[in-house]
Symmetry: none
Subunit: 134 residues, 2 copies
Amino acid sequence: MNGFLGTYYVNLDDKGRANVPAKFRTILEKDNNLNMVVCVMDDFLIVFPQDEWKLNEEKMNDLSAFDTADRNRLREFYSRADECEMKSGKVLVPSRLRKMAELNKEVVLVGMSRTFEIWSKDRWEKANPEFAEN
Amino acid sequence: MNGFLGTYYVNLDDKGRANVPAKFRTILEKDNNLNMVVCVMDDFLIVFPQDEWKLNEEKMNDLSAFDTADRNRLREFYSRADECEMKSGKVLVPSRLRKMAELNKEVVLVGMSRTFEIWSKDRWEKANPEFAEN
DNA sequence: TACGATGTGACTAATAGTGTCGAAAAGTGT
DNA sequence: ACACTTTTCGACACTATTAGTCACATCGTA
């Protein structure tokens, strides 16, 4: 298994849920890794499957919760994150993150091996014109 | 379980209570950890669930009660703290702390993994413009 | 005791999130 | 090209959560 690969155009449903492409779903289900952490990054969202998120979190352990600078870095990390879960083959993108990444109906899922990203179609095609389906 | 994550805009009710978001509530209820210690830190409040507070308190034991500098740090910490409890899904923010952190009606709860913070909306958005909802 | 200020519980309407299903679209094998 | 399977899409009804309000309880003080 090669992790998350490829680019998928999907539509959010009326409640902001994205249908997870079958290949992504298989990867998540394989390890019973249905929980994810979604995090705003620049212009798009990064989705960490639970296990992968834990790895990142461990790297933060050196930071002190009582040092202002460290605390700011921790906050930057945690405040932009939120949990979500794949249910009935779909993930609900938390509404605040949806707004921050300016996701409307049309979004793009981009595989990044151990994580995947969620872009608004507009931003994706602006950044990657070669994908634009005329 | 990933601890407190994400950013929630909530309004204090007429008596200064904040509705605890369902995800935070679940974490607190899981360990029957409905008691908390709230502490003024810089510009905002930090909420320690009881268990987490105990851990921090142990760390403070290293400081000497007979060293003036240590004593000052301890005093700074304890004097700005107060207890509170989640009741009917809400926490009453102690009024003295509310004033110190300049909380009005609109506040922001920010997950920090093992603790969470309470900010006034104004200060939060001043410090983190990217969160400003247009 | 009576009063004001503060804290608590209960309720309701509005909003947000969830499960299910069938039709449409995409992909597969012959 | 055709029939068949899998996947995606969108809609709808249903459940959970949230915001806000009101009535009542408690506490300290005069």
